[in-house]
C-alpha cells in the first residue's frame, strides 16, 4: 500500500498507561513528523525527524517521545498518558526536510482518548 499507514485507528486508554502509536511510510521519504490536532488549534508539531537516526522536538513535545531506527518507521510513545493528550494524532512525511515547498503527505490519523 503506497503512502503512510498509522495504527491503531482509534484507542481508548486509561490515564497512566504507556502507549505507542505506529507510523510507517513506503515512499522512502527522509523527513517524518508527528502532529496532534485539537479543535480550534489546528495541527501542532510534536516531534520530527529529518532523516533516519535523528529526531527533534516540535512545538508541544512534553509527554511524548519518538525514535527513528530506519527510514520507514516513526513510532510515537506516550510514556504515561494523561487526559490532556486526548487528541487526533497525524503522522506525515516529506521527501526532503530541506525543501520548504515539498508536499507533506499525511496518514489517516489515530484518535486517542485518555480517561
Amino acid at each position: 500500500i503506497a503512502g503512510i499507514t498509522q495504527a491503531p485507528t482509534s484507542q481508548i486508554l486509561a490515564a497512566g498507561r504507556r502507549m505507542t502509536l505506529r507510523c510507517t511510510q513506503d515512499m522512502r521519504h527522509n523527513a517524518m513528523y508527528w502532529y496532534r490536532q485539537d479543535l480550534g488549534l489546528g495541527l501542532r508539531l510534536i516531534h520530527y525527524s529529518n532523516t533516519a537516526g535523528t529526531t527533534g522536538k516540535g512545538e508541544v513535545p512534553d509527554g511524548y517521545s519518538v525514535s527513528r531506527a530506519n527510514t520507514d518507521d516513526f513510532p510515537l510513545t506516550l510514556a504515561s498518558a494523561v487526559p490532556s493528550q486526548t487528541s487526533v494524532y497525524f503522522c506525515a512525511s516529506k521527501a526532503s526536510a530541506g525543501y520548504s515547498y515539498n508536499e507533506q503527505f499525511f496518514g489517516p490519523g489515530t484518535r486517542l482518548t485518555v480517561l
Binding site: Y35, G42, A97, Y101, E103, Q104, P108
Partner: protein
Amino acid sequence: TQLLEQSPQFLSIQEGENLTVYCNSSSVFSSLQWYRQEPGEGPVLLVTVVTGGEVKKLKRLTFQFGDARKDSSLHITAAQPGDTGLYLCAGVSLGNQGGKLIFGQGTELSVKP
C-alpha cells in the same frame, strides 16, 4: 512564537456562493501551503505558493500569496457541496531549517445544496 491566524473559523454557505478564507501573520514566510481535510482523513495538499504576489488557480479555487509574504487567501467561486471540508493554511518561516510547517487553526467550510 510565529502564528498563522485563519479567518473565518467557520463558514456555512449555499451552493453557488463565493467565499474567501484568509491566512495572516506578522512573520514572513518562505512558502505557504493550503491543505484540505475531510472528516476521518489526513490533510491533502492543494497548492504551494512561494513568490510574493503569486496567484495560483485550481479550477474554481484561487490562491494568492501576499506581496510581503506574510499573508495568503483562498477564494472559491461558485462553491459546491463537494467543497465542504476543513481548509488549513501552513507556512514555513524564513530561516526555518528543516522546513517545518506552522499551521493555522483551520476554516471549517460547509456548502449546503
